[in-house]
Subunit: 153 residues, 2 copies
DNA sequence: GAAAAGTAGTTGTGTTCGCAACCATTCTTT
DNA sequence: AAAGAATGGTTGCGAACACAACTACTTTTC
């Protein structure tokens, strides 16, 4: 309650532009991945694996880096598994865990899609911004993420 | 093809922070609306109506401002209609169109939720940012939106 | 002014996801 | 070492949404 403490015009603009544009931006970038039969979630899954040592990760860790629930990852895996972009391997140490391994086919597709994807990110976002805006977005979202992480304990 | 034209560290940081944080931010802000039995989509629907002349809009126009498909809005309406936050009125001029009208109950709930919501936006986002960052986010997303709009014709 | 094209809204269908319940396995406690 | 708690993964269910097909009107075209 108390005084509404309304947003200033600049603040309102930042909030409204962010909320109205971010979805469209992601959708547009995702659209450019369609020729590769990938959506943005698949791409990020492959990218995370490719950056991991031995190009594999436990399901659990992968779910966390992708910000998916465990169930959500299980479902998302169906697609990339069927396309043979990744494979699964049961751990011997701990029989609960399953490793997701990037296949050579998955790596090849990622390497093929990456330049296009990078180009999308540039064309849709980066290339329109000044270096000041780019730095500001980086630091702003880092601060927001930091606070969110702190708030959830 | 061609050189990957990789992102600079600042660019990479902006992109990664944006993509990893924006979803969490929206979810956190949405969480604060739960006590009012609203999700962010409902809130925005009510807010858009409240800002319209006579607090009503055609389904079609509302779908556009909310960036929903026509079908998506029909489904979203079910919730707010059942909660009596909005009502529907058929147009006499054009029997195809239906107007969505904010009810007094909807307006009352919006007025009750607004301060909390504003406070969320401040606490989760605005208050952590410098005024330069706020201006940069506004202008950056405006430019991105402008380009996206231009690209879709 | 009749046919064709366009527009408004609804309704199947399919996708993606979270949540909660569940099973199997491992770790902790005593 | 047995009981309980925690962890990793899957599955059933339901929510939100896009898309395409459909109905019902309206506008355009010739």
């Amino acid at each position: 309650m108390s005084e509404p403490n309304w947003l200033t015009p600049d603040e309102m603009r930042a909030w409204r532009m962010f909320i109205s544009t971010s979805g469209d931006l992601l959708k547009a970038i995702e659209g450019d991945l369609a020729p590769f039969r990938l959506d943005l979630g698949d791409y990020q899954l492959l990218a995370m694996l490719s950056e991991s040592p031995e190009q594999q990760l436990r399901m659990c860790d992968l779910a966390e880096t992708l910000q998916l629930s465990r169930g959500g990852l299980t479902r998302r895996m169906e697609g990339v598994l069927k396309a043979k972009l990744v494979s699964r391997r049961r751990s011997d140490d701990d029989k609960r865990v399953a490793y997701v391994v990037l296949t050579s086919k998955g790596l090849a597709l990622l390497k093929k899609a990456a330049p296009t994807h990078l180009c999308s990110v540039r064309r849709m976002m980066i290339d329109h911004l000044t270096s000041g805006e780019i730095k500001a977005i980086g630091s702003a979202f880092a601060k927001i993420a930091d606070h969110l992480g702190r708030e959830m304990d």
